[in-house]
């Protein structure tokens, strides 16, 4: 009996590795090399074209001990992540629960709410720069209609990050899609049973829908945290000449890293930055993974 079980387990292991083999091959072929190179490079004064001498932990040391812009950029990024992740998650769940109903024209609504997520690239950011103009932009125009005197958005250091979060909320349709796909997978029988028990809509939502979509909420929180830390292009384009202004309020971590790597050609320094970020994000992800069993419910999970 024992022997048979062992071979079963071994068989499963072999299957397991066959299934993840494409990833392993791809990882060693395309990803592992560049990753190791950047790790090695972080201990050098690598400048891409002419020098790569070992300098020990000097990059790390001067980043953590001396570099004020490093601290500013980390702070800006944490601010952005702390607000944008919860807000976009809640926003996406709310919208997708509205879109998960049978109301007239639902196909059009779904397409419409997804639209902003499709629009990407420079054009969108340029568009939002116009929309957020204090004097003539549409955002303040709309706020004016309801009697609010809109702020100076991208010109006021206190409002630049909220501007980007607002823009992010607009294009929440991407994660909306995930939740929708997940909600569509929730068995109708559950709702029918609840209906017969006389459970209200609200109860159904919090006791059936939410628990059933926790795997995707978990996914969304983890990936948007990782993604949030890597915010770059918005700031690169919307802070004028890509310097992170006004008053460094849009100097995000990756923007500063970019300026170091491709502006001043301090690639070794940038590589050290990237590994510090890696450690931070990795720890946060581990915390997320450890907390997950407390609230993430997998229907198919073995007890």
């Amino acid at each position: 009996m024992g022997k048979r079980k062992l071979t079963m387990r071994r068989k499963e292991s072999i299957y397991g590795y066959i299934f993840i083999l494409p990833f392993i091959v791809g990882f060693f072929a395309f990803t592992a090399g560049p990753l190791l190179f950047s790790l090695a490079g972080s201990f050098t004064d690598y400048n891409i074209t002419s020098q790569m001498d070992f300098i020990g932990v000097e990059n790390y040391q001067s980043l953590i001990m001396e570099d004020g812009l490093f601290r500013t950029s980390l702070w800006n990024t944490i601010y952005y992540v702390a607000f944008s992740v919860p807000l976009t998650t809640l926003g996406a769940i709310f919208i997708s629960s509205l879109l998960n109903q049978n109301v007239p024209g639902i196909r059009y609504f779904r397409t419409l709410y997804y639209l902003p997520a499709v629009l990407s690239g420079v054009g969108v950011y340029l568009l939002w720069m116009q929309l957020l103009e204090p004097g003539t932009g549409m955002v303040n125009l709309l706020l004016g209609w309801v009697g609010i005197d809109g702020p100076n958005w991208l010109y006021d250091p206190d409002w630049t990050k909220p501007s980007l979060i607002l823009m992010k909320l607009w294009s929440v349709g991407g994660s909306m899609l995930l939740y929708l796909a997940s909600m569509q997978g929730v068995s109708k029988h559950l709702y029918e049973a609840a209906e017969i028990d006389g459970a209200s809509r609200g109860r159904q939502f919090f006791h059936i829908t939410i628990p059933m979509i926790t795997p995707v909420i978990f996914f969304d929180v983890v990936t948007s945290t990782i993604g949030g830390f890597q915010i770059f292009q918005e700031a690169y384009i919307m802070s004028g000449n890509g310097e992170g202004g006004p008053a460094n309020s849009l100097l995000f971590y990756n923007l500063y890293m970019w300026n170091q790597a491709f502006g001043s050609f301090n690639m070794g320094y940038a590589m050290a930055m990237s590994w510090i970020l890696f450690v931070i994000v990795f720890i946060l992800t581990i915390i997320n993974l450890k907390l997950a069993p407390r609230w993430v419910h997998y229907e198919g999970e073995e007890k």
Binding site: N47, I48, T49, S50, Q51, S62, E66, G68, L69, M129, Q130, E133, P134, G135, T136, G137, N152, Y155, P157, G240, E243, G244, G245, P246, A247, N248, L251, N259, F262, G263, S264, F265, N266
Partner: protein
Amino acid sequence: MKKTRLFLISVTISALILSGCAGFQTSNNDEANVNEEGKTVVDFWSFWGSELRRPIIDKIVADFNASQDEIEVKHTYSPWGDIWTKELAAIAAGNPPDVVINDINATALRGKENQAMNLSEFTGGDFSEKFYPELWNATLYEGDSYGIPFNTDTRVLFYNKDAFEEVGLDPEDPPETWAELEEYAAKLDIKNDDEYERLGFYPLWGVGYDVWLLNANGENYFGEDNNTDTVNINTERNVEVLNWLKSWRERIGVDVVNAFQAQIDSQQGNPFFSGDLAMIVQQPTFYQQISEYAEDLNFGVVQLPEYEPGNGHTSWGGGFVAEIPEGSSDPEAAWKFIEYLTDQEVQTYWAVENFDNVANIEGAEAAAQSGDLTEEGQMVYQMAVESMENTLLTPAPVEAPGYYNFINPQVDEFFLGQKTAEEALAQAEADIKNLIEKNQ
């Protein structure tokens, strides 16, 4: 399920057919830089892809190709800004193009880092004398040039002649000094209650605070020779200039400034076109926009005013160079093309067709006389050529790459009222000295 499978199969088949196209053919002879006719191919990358510029540069390249038996230039457009990331990757991989248009301000740094080729073997004799000295010097690292100046720009003052006449100012006598500038601006203002119907002038539209610092000092932060031994940031005059700039902001009001600023930044709806703003500092190419969107505007143009009489009409500019990336397969052929690009004839052609400032002095002077320009165009171009004499560049010294990342945020904080000018400049100076020390 059947339908799905049919769909999958048809997609796979069409994919297989698609894979026959060019994007799937690897060239196994990377080093081949010779085409079918046996001509040496010079790969030339530029960011000139717009409707306006593309035909001009293509014509220049075609003319060159027609004149050559041995060389063929292949021009490739790559997006503005991103082109240099692409170039850098190609240099790192050892397979770069042969000629690239790049930013003049980082040329020395790229020379130092072995990204661009040392061109001193080609630039002997009086070659350098063809160009504005300020531009030429910006391309030098340890005395050798790493890129040949192609085009450039400067900043001049545009003013609305009708508005001048209306308030009793002589339209042929624009402001010469900062004091006159202030006086004229106040006269040109039309204010109804809190709303400005017309604004005379605001110094920070079209240019940054640094241009006024440059104008007042007649030199860059790092002295005349752009040497990091001197760092002139926290000086009395700089403090005074910043406070002067802020006084404009306070007089006009932050809300008005922001509203106008947004319009100007967005490159849409410039208030100068509509007469809502009487004077503005801009590049000479601004004339092109005027002629397109505000044909009837009666305007004049003049060099930047002086800090005080006799101080000099110092202006600020930038520009682009043609460089040979390190690792180019045929520098000799690449150089032939660069020589052609920066010669008087091509420079004048570029200048006139684009209404752009060029680096070649004779080329620029010939353009100002060109019959292909309108009278107004000639006037603006002539002023641009005059301003070029007083135009300084602010390339980052190799010991202080990205130094402006330390000044700009401080000055932002000053304008926001979070720091005094002294505090802001003292902090910036300390940070930059720190940066220089780190890079030495």
